[in-house]
Amino acid sequence: MTALDTDLSAFARPAEGGGRRLELLIRGARCASCLGKVERAAAAAPGVAAARLNLTSGKLSVSFGGPGGDPAQVIRAVEDAGYGVSLFDPAAARTEEDREGRSLTLALGVAAFGVGNAMMFSVPVWAGLFGQELQPASRTVLYWFSAAVAAPCALYAGRPFFASAWRSLRRGRANMDVPITLGVLLTLAVSFSELIQGGAHAYFDAAVSLLFLLLIGRWLDHQLRRKAQGAARDLLALQSPVARRIEPDGGEHGAPVSAFGVGDRFAVLAGERVPLDGVVEAGESEIDNALVNGETAPSVARLGMALHAGAMNLSGRLALRATARAEDSTLAAIARLMEAGAQSKSVYVRLADRAAAIYVPVVHTLALLTFAGGWALGLGPREALLRAAAVLIVTCPCALGLAVPAVQIAACGRLFRKGVLVKSGAALERLAETDCVVLDKTGVLTEGRPHLILGPPDDILAAAPLARASRHPLAQALAAEAGPGAAAEGVREIAGQGVEGRIDGLVCRLGRAGFVGAEASPSPDTELWFRRGEDVPIRFSFVDRLRDDAVATVSALRRRGLEVEVLSGDAEGPVARAVKASGIARWRSGLTPLEKAAAIDELMAAGRKPLMVGDGLNDAAALARAHASMAPGSALEASQNAADLVFEGGKLSAIVDAIDVARAARARALENFGFSALYNLVAAPAAIFGLVNPLVAALAMSGSSLVVMLNALRMTWAARGRDTLA
């Protein structure tokens, strides 16, 4: 961001133990010397007591010793050191200490300790099972040791599962944690009773090693979620939450957007986005609404006109009066639709839970039948209970618990390296199920910025000096076409009209048709006029060019059996041209945001599972309601929030990558389920007929988990270096 010469003290929050803290996101810091440079630059700013950069998350935490110290000075100091700085919205910056992660890590550590040490006592006992010399008295002593180590560890390490099982039972459902909890507690109870009665079979090591394996899966799942959440939040932080408030005395101060009320006045400079809905009170400019409604041609903003948040101010300074607060702008309708969409998504049942819904009743019935049947057939209650416990232990869903998280963490890692950020494992599962793709035009199918198509090379070179002096996107597209060179002299920018300047002593004008004294042409293309002195005006025409890989991506999607459709808010002409060039047959243009969402609803109602790809505010509702959704990293905050996946970089082929990986991940997860089912088909009868002893239980459990993990790792090995669009 550009350092605002304004008061940013609202961004520093009071810290524990006095003083204030400021959190900044640093871009470009990668190495040891960067770390030192950033920290020293920040610490040298006035009022700063300490600065520490977390290189893993890119977050710089600055603490001010007292009431003094200005965040703006810290930002300027770090920017002067050569790094990009973004402010966090104070609300979003609340550093949530990762308590869940810590307690999972500790539980994992305790379980690992328990397994290692319980095994020390179990191995001699297992040797004894094969007729080696081991007196029953020694075995009992070893079991007591095993119990003393394993039981407390299992009770501590099992807490995440016990808590989750309790929560689920209270809601009248049974998730995967219910059989885990029941299995662990029953195993401990039966083992203690065996131990007291001097029996040969106690499963203390099994109880804790089961938890150890399950905790690995739980921990992986948590890491995945946390990393994705952190990255998503950082993306949002890159969009400046600061607006320039105009005080009654005429002064300007930077203030968080959330602090604005209706009637507050604020300024928007050329090149900035409109932060809030508002009415223009002063100034004149051109507005690029591409992200708001998909229109590619810029429109004029004049006194009294209402502007939407998210529009880009192109040429002049505007003063606006806010007509709505940030959280309830005219976009409330879109926000409500998004909420409804998010709710319908939370109803989605994840793959693992669907497996649990089948698995839990089957296993519990089996254990119950083993107990009742064994007792009825004359085994005696003690032996029958032991066998029922053995059934619960060997069928305990270690492999099932690892089946999905292990695959998803490998898949997300692979996508992350390709610049695709997955927000949750459920998103990946939904993406794999999609059967059609709905694309937005502006900014998704096309690059979302103007590209010069018409104009003789000599004229381009003639107009270039004036174009270089302007920040208007059309002028910049013209300058980019001409290449580097000299700029015009005495340049004057007339807001909403164009630029005027001298080239070789002649007064030249570049801008709207009326500005240079020409007749606007009836063509729907975006145009720019140039007039040198009193010569005949020259017309340049621009289009929003297709992305380089749009055609290849569309045909790659079609080869994967996905129908491609375009829903755009832009006018019919540009949309027709774009879909024709990219070979898409189904398209609709001129849609309002609500019509887009309705079109997605129609598809969903017809039983289709659409993947929506969009970047504008007008897509946000559709993104939230679609079965799965993706947004480019250049999209507006609301759209990135609504989307399941965010892809960085200019490549549309990221959509194909993501679908391929999601489908492969689903295949791997289903393979893992299949393997678990097969394993249980062998292990459960063995347990029922009393063929399982503690050694067999331990080997079967860890063996099946290992196979599942190795299968998940195939996600990382598979398809390295293969061309996606092939």
Binding site: F113, G116, N117, F121, V141
Partner: protein, 56 residues
Amino acid sequence: MNILLFLAPASVLVALIGLGAFWWTVENGQYEDPAGDAARILDDAYDQAPTEGERQ
């Protein structure tokens, strides 16, 4: 056999010390910024070793 009664608790005790150390590293936030810690070791500014003068 009796030696087990002494050696087994002793080995568990050693392992408990290890577990305690792990617990401390987690609570101490030593897994919060692995990339930063790897970088800090290369910068003399964070070097807390005694200087030449202190060592003599």
